[in-house]
C-alpha cells in the first residue's frame, strides 16, 4: 500500500475517522457560510434603505 492510501485507511478506522471530520467541517463550515451570507445581506439591505432615505431628504 502506498503511503497516502495507508494514511487514508486510518488503520482500518477510515469509515469512522473521515465521517467525523466531514461532519465537523460541514457543520462548522456551514455555520460560517450562513453567518457570512446573512451578514452581507444585512449590509446590502442597510445600504439600500439608507440610500433611499437619503434621496428623500
Amino acid at each position: 500500500m502506498s503511503g497516502l492510501a495507508e494514511w487514508a485507511a486510518m488503520g482500518g478506522y477510515a469509515a469512522f475517522v473521515w465521517p467525523a471530520y466531514a461532519v465537523a467541517g460541514a457543520a462548522l463550515g456551514g455555520m460560517a457560510l450562513q453567518s457570512w451570507r446573512r451578514y452581507r445581506a444585512s449590509i446590502r439591505a442597510l445600504d439600500r434603505l439608507s440610500g433611499s432615505a437619503g434621496s428623500r431628504r
Partner: protein, 256 residues
C-alpha cells in the same frame, strides 16, 4: 474588565471595535484551524490501544468544550439582559446560541462515530451522553423561544429565563463522568494534578481547541453585527412609513 465591557456595550462603539477586530480574527481562526488539522492528521501519533481512531478526539473534544463555553456565553448574556436590560447582551446571547448548537451537534455525532468502534455502540443512555443531548435540546429550545413571539422583547425574555434555568445542566455534564459509572471516560485534560494525556496528543488538541475558539469569536462578532444591522434596517423602514398627522385610535398599519 468590567469597564471595558461596559464601554464596548455601546452599539456604535461595538460596531467600530468589532469592525477593526474581525479582519484579524477571521484569518487567525482559519490559520490555527489549518495548523490544528495538520497536527491532528499527520503529526499526532496513533494511540497504543485505540489506534488511528483516536484522531476523532481532535474534532470531538474541542467541540464538547465549546458546547459548554458557548452555553456560558448564552447564559451570561441572558442574565445581563434580564437584570440590566442591556440590548447588546441579548443580541450576543442570541447570536451565540446557534453556534453552540452546532458545536454540540458536532460533539454528539463525532462521539457516536468514535463510540461505535471503541464501545461497540453508536449511542448509550449514559449520564454524560444524555446530559449533552439535553444541552443540545436546551439550545434548540432557547432558539425557538427567542423567535416564537411577534414581539421580540417577550420572546427574548422567555428565552433568557430558559437559558438561566439550563445552567444547572453544565455541572451535571462536567461531573457526570465522576458522579456516575459511565461508559464515557473521565476527563484527562482539565483535572486535579494536571493532564494525563501525552504531550504529543495534548498539543494538537489544544491547537484545535484554540482554532474552534477563534472561529466562535469571529462568527459571534459577525452574527452580532448582522443583528445590529437588521435592527437598524427595521428602524429605517419604520421611519420611512408615512406618519399619520394625528395619532389614530388604532395605530396598527394592518387595520388602517
Amino acid at each position: 474588565m468590567a469597564t471595558m465591557i461596559s464601554r464596548l456595550a455601546n452599539p456604535a462603539r461595538f460596531m467600530r471595535v468589532s469592525g477593526a477586530v474581525l479582519p484579524v480574527l477571521a484569518p487567525a481562526a482559519a490559520l490555527v484551524l489549518v495548523l490544528g488539522l495538520y497536527l491532528a492528521l499527520f503529526v499526532a501519533p496513533p494511540d497504543y490501544q485505540q489506534g488511528e481512531s483516536v484522531r476523532i478526539m481532535f474534532v470531538h473534544v474541542p467541540a464538547a468544550w465549546l458546547a459548554l463555553l458557548v452555553y456560558l456565553v448564552v447564559a451570561l448574556g441572558s442574565a445581563v439582559a434580564l437584570v440590566w436590560r442591556h440590548p447588546l447582551a441579548e443580541i450576543a446571547a442570541q447570536a451565540a446560541a446557534p453556534l453552540g448548537a452546532a458545536f454540540t451537534l458536532v460533539c454528539l455525532v463525532t462521539g457516536s462515530l468514535w463510540g461505535r468502534p471503541m464501545w461497540g455502540a453508536w449511542w448509550v443512555w449514559d449520564a454524560r451522553l444524555t446530559s449533552v443531548l439535553v444541552l443540545f435540546f436546551l439550545y434548540l429550545g432557547y432558539i425557538a423561544l427567542a423567535n416564537a413571539f411577534d414581539d421580540p422583547g417577550r420572546g427574548g425574555r422567555a428565552a433568557s429565563v430558559l437559558a438561566l434555568v439550563g445552567v444547572v445542566n453544565l455541572p451535571i455534564i462536567k461531573f457526570s463522568v465522576d458522579w456516575w459509572n459511565t461508559l464515557h471516560q473521565a476527563g484527562s485534560v482539565f483535572r486535579m494534578g494536571g493532564p494525563t494525556i501525552d504531550r504529543s496528543m495534548l498539543i494538537p488538541l489544544l491547537v484545535m481547541a484554540l482554532g474552534y475558539m477563534l472561529l466562535f469569536a469571529a462568527l459571534l462578532l459577525v452574527r452580532m453585527r448582522t443583528a445590529l444591522n437588521e435592527r437598524k434596517a427595521r428602524a429605517l423602514q419604520l421611519s420611512a412609513l408615512p406618519s399619520p398627522a394625528a395619532p389614530l385610535p388604532n395605530p396598527s398599519p394592518v387595520l388602517r
